[in-house]
């Protein structure tokens, strides 16, 4: 799923490891999200949205829209 996660992370100067710790997932999971190898669950998508204080659809493109 196309997303702006890497851009948002880099803007804040965070590493994948730091973002993973903030979200409660592994660095591999963050990397998989950024490289579109994993579509997040709704729960994880909402956690990411809360962390960056943005709506989910600002971070993840809706593939059905």
């Amino acid at each position: 799923m196309k997303n702006r996660l890497k851009l948002l992370r880099v803007e804040r100067g965070w590493t994948q490891e730091q973002l993973g710790q903030a979200l409660g997932v592994s660095r591999q999971a963050v990397n998989a999200l950024e490289t579109e190898k994993h579509d997040p669950s709704l729960d994880l998508a909402y956690r990411i949205a809360v962390l960056f204080a943005r709506p989910v659809e600002d971070i993840f493109d809706n593939p059905h829209a």
Binding site: A29, A32, K37, H38, D39
Partner: protein, 134 residues
């Protein structure tokens, strides 16, 4: 076993400890058997107890793999489950072909426990090609 080279999560650390513990027991029992520790087993009950003792670490290691999936984050869980399912399917397919080869084509007999190392061999071949949870 799983390739954990780039991971350091607590779930992965528990997996490594559990796998090493179970495999230590497995190796110890088999080394004892190779050196004749169980050569004098006479009764069927004792023989079955030995069979259960050898297979218990294998069951434990399978549990450790399933526990890793349960305790990991959603990406590692999905990826490992996908690799596990594909490897199990490949191992069952190979075992079925060989089994019917035994039944109909005179292939020599292979003990059923070979499915366990066969599964991990399939896992090792398949895992590098399965890097996406989708």
């Amino acid at each position: 076993m799983l390739d954990l080279g780039k991971s350091n999560s607590s779930a992965h650390r528990r997996y490594v400890v559990r796998t090493l513990a179970f495999m230590s027991g497995y190796v110890a029992i088999n080394v004892a058997a190779i050196f004749g520790a169980f050569d004098d087993i006479g009764s069927p009950v004792a023989a079955w107890l030995l069979a259960l003792a050898v297979s218990a670490p294998v069951v434990g290691q399978i549990w450790a793999t399933l526990a890793l999936m349960n305790e990991s984050d959603e990406f590692v869980r999905a990826l490992t489950a996908k690799q596990f399912i594909l490897a199990a399917g490949a191992a069952m397919a190979i075992a079925s072909v060989w089994g019917f080869g035994e039944s109909y084509a005179g292939a020599y007999h292979i003990p059923a426990w070979i499915i366990y190392p066969l599964f991990w061999a399939c896992f090792g071949v398949i895992a590098p090609f399965v890097r996406s949870s989708r």
